[in-house]
């Protein structure tokens, strides 16, 4: 089949769409089969098909044993486990186990800051791999993508860590409270210039944070309906919010040297605050935030958030982001109506709690709808941390420990090469996969990254060496975990369900059987004999009868397009 026909089979022409809207269906005029199911509880079958789907979307690289464990209990237990509180992980350390997260900013810290930042990145990747059956690290990454800050801009590992710890502490917490905390978060104050936003007198406020607060973090941008009017807010509101937010500084940071010797944190300086009244537009019901003087000026941020969170659009915006993180990017009218709107209502009713929303979503008929299975393109972290986690390996070092930095760092670098550099998203909007219409998830995959994904999975089978550590998938151990690897047909069926969320076709399985594994038609059970001989007597020669073809098979299957899906 020609390349173009491939595409035309599923994608229609796309002309101009009438108006911008976050709810727009991203692709074309040709309707795709989507679902009309909503947030009503899922009551259908409960087998590894559903449990694999649930775990693939909520943790990195679910293992076979975890899938079987979850399948043995009901859906409510599975979601209960995923959403349960978790103990705090150990803090990241530097080389030789040095503790730095509470260091004072001195020459020694300044010189080592870059190193600590790299250790921090590797540590987080390690947590993703170490995480058990819990949604937490997926949510930490969600918030990192939502409040996207770049560590290379902030250049202070302590404040970057502190922000990451905030996301972990509030992973399933209250959204409004999180916005309050992130507004005063030292890393954010530096990244979006909050600490430079100065009002009063002739000072012109710095709008950087105020704009992103409205556009990205809370209510979100709607269609532009007039000059400077983005439906949900206007340029007037950006300017007014910037004035509300004047006066903050950051202590303990080399960015604000007047306060370098204090602990890391925000500081409100009334002398820099614009204490006049702030008039908002009709988008916010013409609210006036009364200017306050002296220390009272610091409470204006609460008035601002109260105003923003009184708008139902704020809940909808976050629910759409959660939907695109856990379900699919295509939000058509049905999804908007049957899923986003009721989830937003749950969020509003709970006072902006996140956990009740996820609890309903992950138990919903919509989440388990056939049409929502397998349509998520793995992020580089799903691929990298997920693949490292999913398969048994020759050694399984705890990658969150400083002792295993070299290996964890090599995986981190792979993620960065695949365009997901932890702690350094491309810009304040986060990764394009979660907002760029019409590409969305597809923006992860192109002619540069797809071959590199294949190169990475090849390396897991061939073996990765970093420092003194060597890591590889233990292919034989992995095959032995399957129920009946001696039967070549069952072997391929089980491998298929390990690597692909959707069924392989008979043609594909034939190709794997005869061309990749190299069996002979009508003599397939010759494999049974080879495998059993190896099991009874794993000599070098008998191992060589099974391992090389299995290595080839695994490498091939991990390069299949299906393995990129979750």
């Amino acid at each position: 089949m020609k390349r173009r026909e491939f595409l035309e089979a599923v994608v229609g022409d796309r002309g101009p769409q009438s108006a911008q809207g976050v709810g727009d269906s991203p692709r074309g005029t040709r309707p795709l089969v989507r679902t009309t199911s909503g947030i009503e509880p899922y009551t259908g079958g409960w087998s590894t098909e559903q449990t694999s789907h649930l775990l693939r979307r909520t943790i990195f690289g679910p293992r076979r044993a975890e899938i079987l464990l979850v399948t043995s209990g009901p859906l409510s237990s599975a979601v209960g486990t995923l959403l349960a509180d978790q103990p705090d992980p150990e803090e990241p350390k530097g080389p030789a186990g040095v503790s730095w997260v509470d260091a004072v900013y001195d020459t020694n810290y300044g010189q080592n800051e870059g190193t600590y930042r790299n250790y921090l990145k590797a540590w987080w990747l390690g947590l993703m791999v170490q995480q058990g059956i819990s949604i937490r690290e997926k949510m930490v990454l969600f918030w990192h993508n939502h409040f996207a800050n770049e560590a290379t801009e902030i250049r202070d590992a302590r404040s970057v860590y502190r922000q990451n710890a905030l996301f972990r502490r509030m992973a399933l917490g209250n959204f409004k409270q999180l916005v309050k905390e992130i507004t005063l978060d030292p890393a954010m104050l530096v990244y979006l210039n909050g600490y430079l936003n100065r009002g009063g007198g002739n000072n012109v406020p710095d709008e950087n944070y105020a704009r992103e607060l409205l556009e990205l973090f809370t209510i979100g941008k709607g269609p532009q309906i007039a000059e400077g009017n983005y439906t949900h807010y206007t340029e007037t509101d950006v300017k007014a919010a910037a004035r509300v937010l004047t006066g903050y500084r950051v202590t303990g940071s080399p960015r604000d040297r007047n306060y370098l010797n204090q602990p890391l944190g925000p500081l409100f300086d009334p002398a820099r605050h614009d204490a006049t009244n702030k008039q908002f537009s009709p988008a916010f019901q013409n609210t006036v935030i009364t200017g306050k003087t002296a220390e009272n000026g610091a409470t204006e941020v609460d008035d601002l958030l109260t105003m923003i969170f009184a708008q139902p659009e704020t809940a909808r915006h976050l629910c759409r982001k959660l939907y695109r993180w856990f379900v699919y990017y295509d939000i058509d009218d049905q999804v908007e109506q049957n899923v986003i709107a009721p989830l937003a209502q749950i969020m509003i009713d709970s006072g902006y709690e996140v956990k009740p929303v996820l609890d309903v979503l992950l138990k919903s008929a919509h989440f388990f709808d056939e049409n929502n299975i397998g349509c998520f393109i793995k992020t580089p972290m799903d691929l990298v941390a997920g693949s490292v986690r999913q398969f048994p390996s020759t050694s399984f070092p705890d990658l969150s420990l400083w002792q295993n930095y070299a290996l964890a760092n090599s995986f981190r670098a792979t993620g960065a090469n695949l365009q997901m550099n932890l702690f350094d998203p491309p810009d304040v909007a986060g990764w394009k996969a979660f907002y760029q219409n019409p590409d969305f998830y597809q923006s992860w995959i192109n002619t540069a990254t797809l071959p590199s994904r294949g190169g990475f999975t090849d390396s897991l089978v061939n073996g990765v060496r970093a420092g003194t550590t060597r890591f590889s998938i233990d292919v034989l151990a992995f095959i032995k975990t399957l129920p009946d690897p001696a039967d070549p047909f069952k072997l391929l069926d089980d491998l298929a369900s390990e690597v692909s969320p959707i069924a392989l076709t008979p043609n594909q399985k034939d190709y794997l059987m005869y061309s990749v594994l190299g069996l002979t038609h009508t003599a397939e059970y010759e494999w049974t004999q080879r495998w059993n001989t190896y099991l009874q007597s794993p000599t070098t020669q008998n191992t060589n009868d099974v391992l090389p073809p299995l290595n080839t098979l695994i490498k091939f299957m991990l390069r299949m397009a299906e393995f990129q899906l979750a």
């Binding site: 491939f6 595409l7 229609g12 911008q20 710095d206 556009e215 269609p223 695949l418 071959p451």
Partner: protein, 527 residues
């Protein structure tokens, strides 16, 4: 007329199905005419190098107005560049002091500046504004394809199976393909980080299933990934082959790793010189979102913005030197853009907030050199922001027609609207149809260029048959003001220069008549 239309109109009807089925032309045995055509197509291929300045470049401190001293100093007391240190291009316009390479290009006639480029109702979000620029949309319309993607799709509807285009149509240097290259159903471009690793990784690849994917969301994503896999394999050899054929020769390139834009442009130069027929290359330089510390506290000539402009200038100069030495300078046009300019008034943190209109640079031997448009007024503002002089889509239309020879009809299909063009390309370089070896298949009157013009402009037309030709110019009252052509002419492409000496500013019509054909178009004289 684009090449596709030309082929369709020129070859015997019976050959068309075979062409549309995508078989290589050479498989059809000796077909001298088609072979000539293919050779001509590759010989005349023009390249556009698009340089995206991410984050919103501060146009006012890049192309600095020298005619509004006090307004400039008043608006930007803490970040203004000392005017006596600006690199003067002409009395009223100068460049940031760090941009010495681009000043040299200007002096060599290889740089042009289009002032005040924006669009009605500008959007101040990075992300939405970037989309508007890349898709070429109105500010209140969302398009899901890019302006270059639509052009490439018009010209190569069979991509990626086009029989005469074995190479990628567009290449993004980097790991993310620009949205500007997005076609209606697929990206018309591919991404590569380095030609060598690209080849190694791809050649180790495998092809997965061959069955059609299911009609479901998962099937849609699967199909997309498979398609990328096939594309990578198809193009890896071509890209590697071109990269192996040429090496960078300029001594002006900065050391590897010092200037990310230069590193990207080095690859572009190598691939063009190596014979890759790719039409569009996209490169990026980010970091222009200078809300704070745009300038140093003690010296406004240095700081974040100066570093970035220095990189842009150095990279552009080295690239131009390289393509000149490699002998491909005549077919390479470069263009910069950024999602918006910045606020006229600086903020208290030595930076600038999001703004609107900004200048665009064109670079290369084919450019129509100089400064197009006037300095933006720093006092006549809309909400504190500069007013627009040129719609960015007028710039796109000019590039597409003057450089790629896109017809009026196709231009309409790509940009959804008519835009008055501005002179981007020197006259004489002209559109690609004049390179086509065969005679035109139909009558055609082209849009004049430059337009608006003062005092002269060039009008081109094509005649499929010889005959008497008249070309007359009328004012809007219908009065004939000039008879430009009135003679018997042979079949083929013709062009004449119209001099408007003595005529007042305004819109004029020009009308051609030959045999039973007639057509007319508008042009604007702007004195």
């Amino acid at each position: 007329m684009n090449r596709r239309e030309f082929i369709r109109r020129s070859v015997p009807v019976t050959a068309i199905p075979f062409l549309l089925n995508g078989f290589p032309i050479r498989a059809y045995g000796r077909a001298p005419f088609l072979e000539t055509l293919v050779a001509a197509a590759s010989a005349t291929d023009r390249v556009l190098v698009l340089v995206q300045l991410g984050g919103g470049n501060d146009g006012i401190n890049t192309v600095i107005p020298l005619n509004q001293d006090s307004a400039y100093m008043n608006a930007r007391p803490n970040i203004a560049i000392p005017l006596n240190e600006v690199l003067t291009l002409r009395d009223d316009v100068g460049l940031h002091p760090v941009m010495t390479g681009m000043k040299d290009l200007y002096d060599q006639g290889k740089l042009s500046i289009v002032q005040g480029v924006s669009y009605p109702n500008p959007n101040l979000s990075h992300f939405r504004a970037t989309d508007i620029w890349l898709t070429g949309s109105e500010s209140n319309v969302t398009l899901s394809s890019g302006w270059l993607g639509r052009h490439l799709e018009e010209e190569f509807p069979e991509y990626p199976d086009d029989p005469v285009m074995p190479d990628p149509l567009a290449i993004q240097i980097g790991a993310v393909v620009s949205f500007g290259l997005q076609g209606s159903a697929q990206s018309m471009g591919i991404a590569i980080q380095s030609p060598d690793t690209f080849y190694q990784l791809v050649s180790a690849g495998s092809s997965g299933g061959t069955d059609t994917a299911p009609q479901s969301p998962a099937g849609r994503e699967l199909t997309y990934i498979r398609n990328v896999s096939i594309q990578s394999q198809a193009y890896a050899g071509q890209v590697k082959g071109a990269a192996d054929k040429a090496a960078n020769v300029s001594t002006l390139w900065p050391a590897q790793g010092q200037n990310p834009l230069a590193d990207q442009l080095k690859i572009v130069s190598r691939l063009i010189a190596g014979g890759l027929k790719t039409r569009v290359f996209v490169v990026n330089l980010g970091g222009f979102d200078n809300h704070s510390s745009q300038v140093d506290t003690t010296d406004t000539k240095i700081g974040l913005h100066a570093t970035l402009l220095g990189r842009l200038s150095t990279a552009m100069m080295a690239f131009q030197d390289d393509v000149r030495l490699l002998g491909v300078e005549h077919r390479v046009l470069g263009m910069t853009f950024s999602e918006f300019g910045r606020r006229v008034q600086s903020n208290a943190s030595l930076g600038t907030d999001h703004g609107t209109a900004a200048p665009i640079f064109f670079f290369g031997q084919p450019v129509f050199p100089g400064v197009i448009g006037s300095n933006p007024s720093l006092t006549d503002l809309t909400n504190g922001n500069l007013k627009m002089q040129y719609d960015f889509r007028a710039v796109y239309a000019s590039v597409l027609q003057q450089w790629f020879g896109v017809s009026d009809n196709d231009l309409q299909a790509i940009l959804y609207k008519d835009f008055l063009q501005i002179p981007i390309i020197q006259s004489g370089v002209a559109v690609n149809v004049e390179d086509d070896p065969a005679l035109p298949s139909e009558y055609r009157l082209y849009a004049n260029y430059p337009n608006p013009f003062n005092p002269s402009t060039t009008i081109a037309y094509e005649l499929p048959r010889q005959g008497n030709v008249s070309l007359r110019v009328y004012d809007m009252m219908g009065r004939e003001v000039a008879l430009v052509v009135d003679e018997h002419q042979s079949a083929g492409r013709h062009q004449v220069t119209f001099h408007a000496d003595g005529l007042p500013s305004g819109t004029y019509l020009y009308r051609i008549q030959s045999n039973s054909f007639s057509d007319r178009k508008k042009m604007v004289l702007l004195k």
